[in-house]
Symmetry: C2
Subunit: 468 residues, 2 copies
C-alpha cells in the first residue's frame, strides 16, 4: 500500500544527514516483578518478539522512485524483520547507570536505515540492581517527540496484575471500546490528544512555511518591543555538530522542586529552568566559556486555546513557546530563579498579546528548529534568538506497569541540531522530575557533568530559599 | 599535519554509501589467563585505554575543504577521543556464540563517522564460557583486508608470559630493532610484507584504472579461450544490497580438511572451496533458488613472482586471482570436489600463461571489486563474471597471546558490495581453519544456516573420500 508522505515528515527526511540524525528516543527503566526468573529479560524479549500482526506505523518505510514520480511515499516493508528492529542488548560489568547511559548514547548516535521502517527498540539487561531497560528510537518523520512519549506509554497499564500486554509495535485489536480508548488517552498525564494533533499541525505549517509565517517570525525576532526580541550570546553549544551523541539522565523528587517553588513564589517549571540555568552556568564556568550576558532558552508552553492565546502552566490544547533569559550571568542561585520567573511571566504575557499567526510562528521555531531555522537563514536571519531548547512535558501521574514490571523511570532522548548542540527535555513521572540531556558528543564534552551540576543547583536553590 | 590521500584510499571513500560501508573487520577470541580476576574484561579494557601516544594511522581522518582546494587529505584529529573509538560491550544472557555473532553483525553494519579517525575496537564480555572477544573495524581506505589482519596480529606475542603489551593503536617505540621487526613480520604465517605492499599497489592501479587495464579486463572476460571466460548464473546473491549485515563464523580442525585432501589428491584450498560449494548448494536448495549451472567464485591465489606469474599454493610475493567453477549443480560431494580441483588447476595454468598486465587486471577485480566493477559497467560490461569472492588467507601458525590471554580463534569480517551480497573469507590459525561469512542481512537471510551446511559438507566429504 502506498501512502503519500505529508510535507512535515518529508521535511524531516530531507533535513537529516550524517551529522544530524532526526530520531527521538525514550529510555524506560523497569523493576523485575516479584518472583521473576533468572532469565527474566530473555523471557520478556521473547514474549515481546511474538507480537503477531505489526501496526501500520511500524511497517512503513519511505520510498521514492520512478513509480512514484519522484515523490516520497510511505510503502509497507514487504520483508519486515522484527528481529532487526527489536534487539536484546546487555551492559558490561559493573552494570551501573553509567554503562547504561553510555550504551544509550551509542544507540542514539546511529541513523535509522531508510530501507526499513524507521524505528528500533532495545531491551537492555545487565544493570547491577537487576532492573531492565528499554531504549526506543523513532524517526521524527513518524512521530514528534511528545507523541513518541505518549506512544511509549500508551502500551502500559496502571494495573500491576495485567499480563499478556502487546508491545508498542503490535497491531491493536479494533474491538477495543471507545470508552477504553478514551480512558487510555486521558491516562497519559491528562493531556488531551488534541494537543499532540495541534503540535503536529503546526509543524506541518512550518514545513510548508508560508511567506506570511516567515515574515512574522523575522518581524518578531527583529522587533525590539516583542517577546521574541532577545539577544542570545554565542556559546560553545551554538556550533556545527557531529553525528555522535552523549546522553545523560537522572530524576529528582518532585516534592523537592515544589518546596523550592512554594518558598519562592515560583512555578515548578521555573524551578526546572533554574536548575538548568545553574547547571549550565557551572558547566561553562568550568570550561571558562561563560558569556557575559544571559543565555536564552526557548521553552514550549501550553496555551489555553479557549482564551485565544493565553498561556497556561498545565498544558492546554495548543502549544506556544516563550524565550526565557536564564540569568546565567548571575552568580547567585536565588537571583537566577527570580530572573527566570520574571522572564517567564513577561514571556507569557507577550505570548497572550500575540496574534495566532505569531504564536504559530514562535511555536514552529521550537517544534521544528531543524526545518525552520535553515529556512530563516535563507530569509536573512543568521542566528536563532536562543541558545537551546528546554522542554518540560507532563508525564504519567500514576505508576505504570508493563506485564507486571513496575516502570521506575522514563527519560526522553531528543535531537541536537546544527547550531544547537544541547537539548534538555524533562518529564514528570509519579513523584519524580526526570531530566534527559542529549548533546553532540564532540561539541558538549563531559555532558554527564551537567547531572552533578543539576544536583548541586537543586541543593543551592533549597539553601537559598530556606528549605534545605 | 596534512597528508594527501592516495587515489586508492580516496576511491574507497567515494565508493562508500549507506548501503555499502567500506570497512573490514576482525573478530578475535581470547581465553582468560589462569587466575584472572572476576572483572578481568574491565581490567584489560582499562589497561588498553591507557595507551599513551596514538600511532599516526589511528589519528588520521579524511578532510576536504577550501583550504585543501577541494582535495581529500588526511589530517590529524585535533580532538582525538580514545573512549569514542575503543568501547566496552557485553552480550545478553545466555552469552552463546550466537549472541556474539549477532552483536558483531550489528557493529559491522554501522558506518564509521568521517569526522573521526576511521576505526573502532570493541572489547566484548559476557560469553558463557568466560572467554573475551575483540571486534575491530578499520576503514578500507586505511588498510586492505589482508593488511588489517596482519595489523591485528602484529601486536600479539607467541610468549604467554609477556605482559604490558601495547594495543594496536599505540605508537610503537622506534627503538625496536630491525631484526625484531623482521621477525614479527615473518611470524605472521610467513607471508612476506612485500605481498601486502604489492596487493595495495595493484588496487592503486585499479583505482586509477588505466585504459589498457580496462581493455584487458573486457577482452579477458569476453574471450572464450581465457580462464576469465566463465558464465556466472544470476543468483539471489547478485542483487542490490542494504546497509545491514549478518556475520557468521566458525572454525574446523585443519587436520580434518587435510585428511580429505590427502585421500582425494586435492589441496587444502580445494577442500575449503568444496565446503563452501556444498554449503551454498544446500542453502540455495532450501530456498528453491539453485541455478542449473555452476556458481563461479573469484579466488585470490599467491603467485611466484620469480617464475613470472606462476601460481603457487602457499603464498608467493604477488597475488593473482582464479575464476573457479564451484560445481554447485552436482549433487555429489566428491564430484563437486573433483570439479573444483580441475577448475582450479585449469585456472592456475591459465593464470601462468597470462601477461603481467592481465594478472594485474584479474587481481584488481578481486581486490577492489567495489571500485573496479562499477568502472567496468561504465565500459559496457554489465555483470561480473563471478558470483562471490572466496578468499583463504594463511594465518598465524603459532599460538598468539595478548598480555597472557591465549587467542583461541580469529575470524575475518569482509565487505559485501552491490551485486555481491555474500563474502566468504577464511584464515588458518594454528590447528584450525576459521571461516568468516559476511552478508547483506536482507539479501542473504538466515546466513548462519551456512555454518550448519559447512559442517554437514565437511562430514559429507569425509564420507565420500572414505576418511570418516
Amino acid at each position: 500500500m502506498v501512502v503519500p508522505i505529508d510535507p512535515t515528515s518529508a521535511a524531516f527526511l530531507f533535513a537529516e544527514n550524517r551529522q544530524m540524525p532526526m530520531h527521538v528516543g525514550g529510555l524506560q527503566l523497569f523493576e523485575r516483578p516479584e518472583g521473576a526468573a533468572e532469565d527474566y529479560a530473555r523471557q520478556i524479549y521473547e514474549s515481546m518478539s511474538e507480537a503477531g500482526d505489526i501496526a501500520p506505523l511500524f511497517l512503513r518505510r519511505p520510498t521514492r522512485g520512478i513509480t512514484t514520480a519522484g515523490q516520497w511515499v510511505w510503502t509497507e516493508d514487504d520483508d519486515f524483520d522484527l528481529e532487526y528492529h527489536f534487539r536484546h542488548s546487555a551492559l558490561p560489568e559493573p552494570g551501573r547507570v553509567r554503562e547504561l547511559l553510555e550504551l544509550c548514547s551509542r544507540l542514539h548516535s546511529t541513523r535509522l536505515a531508510r530501507e526499513r521502517p524507521l524505528w528500533e527498540a532495545h531491551l537492555i539487561e545487565g544493570l547491577d540492581d537487576g532492573r531492565v531497560a528499554l531504549y526506543t528510537k523513532l524517526h521524527h518523520s513518524l512521530v514528534d517527540g511528545v507523541s513518541a512519549m505518549r506512544l511509549l506509554q500508551s502500551v502500559m497499564s496502571t494495573d500491576p496484575d495485567e499480563r499478556g500486554m502487546a508491545p508498542m509495535w503490535a497491531a491493536r485489536p479494533r474491538a477495543r471500546t471507545r470508552a477504553a480508548r478514551a480512558d487510555a488517552e486521558r491516562s497519559v498525564a491528562g493531556v488531551p490528544v488534541e494537543a499532540f494533533r495541534t503540535a503536529l499541525g503546526i509543524t506541518a505549517d512550518a514545513a510548508g512555511l508560508p511567506g506570511a509565517l516567515v515574515r512574522t517570525l523575522l518581524h518578531g525576532v527583529r522587533n525590539e518591543t516583542s517577546a521574541l526580541s532577545l539577544y542570545a550570546p554565542r556559546t560553545m553549544f551554538n556550533t556545527t555538530i557531529t553525528g555522535s551523541r552523549r546522553f545523560a539522565a537522572q530524576g529528582w523528587p518532585l516534592e523537592r522542586l515544589r518546596a523550592v517553588g512554594r518558598a519562592s513564589g515560583t512555578t515548578l517549571n521555573d524551578v526546572v529552568l533554574a536548575m538548568c540555568s545553574g547547571a549550565i552556568r557551572s558547566y561553562l564556568v568550568e570550561r571558562q566559556a561563560l558569556p557575559d550576558t544571559s543565555l536564552v532558552a526557548m521553552v514550549p508552553v501550553g496555551l489555553n486555546a479557549k482564551k485565544a492565546g493565553e498561556a497556561s502552566g498545565d498544558g492546554g490544547n495548543a502549544v506556544g513557546a516563550v524565550m526565557v533569559k536564564l540569568g546565567t550571568e548571575l552568580p547567585d542561585a536565588a537571583d537566577r530563579l527570580s530572573s527566570i520567573h520574571a522572564s517567564m511571566v513577561t514571556g507569557k504575557q507577550a505570548l497572550s498579546s500575540m496574534t495566532p499567526l505569531q504564536i504559530t510562528a514562535m511555536t514552529a521555531l521550537g517544534m521544528a528548529p531543524s526545518i525552520v531555522i535553515p529556512t530563516l537563514r535563507l530569509h536573512g536571519l543568521l542566528r536563532p534568538p536562543f541558545n537551546l531548547i528546554i522542554s518540560n512535558v507532563p508525564g504519567p501521574r500514576k505508576t505504570q506497569y508493563l506485564n507486571g514490571a513496575r516502570m521506575v523511570g522514563t527519560y526522553p532522548l531528543s535531537i541536537p541540531i546544527n547550531g544547537m548542540a544541547l537539548n534538555i527535555t524533562c518529564n514528570s513521572y509519579v513523584d519524580d522530575m526526570c531530566f534527559g540531556l542529549t548533546g553532540c558528543r564532540r561539541s558538549v564534552p563531559s555532558l554527564q557533568r551537567l547531572l552533578t551540576h543539576l544536583d548541586d543547583e537543586l541543593a543551592a536553590l533549597e539553601e537559598a530559599v530556606g528549605v534545605a
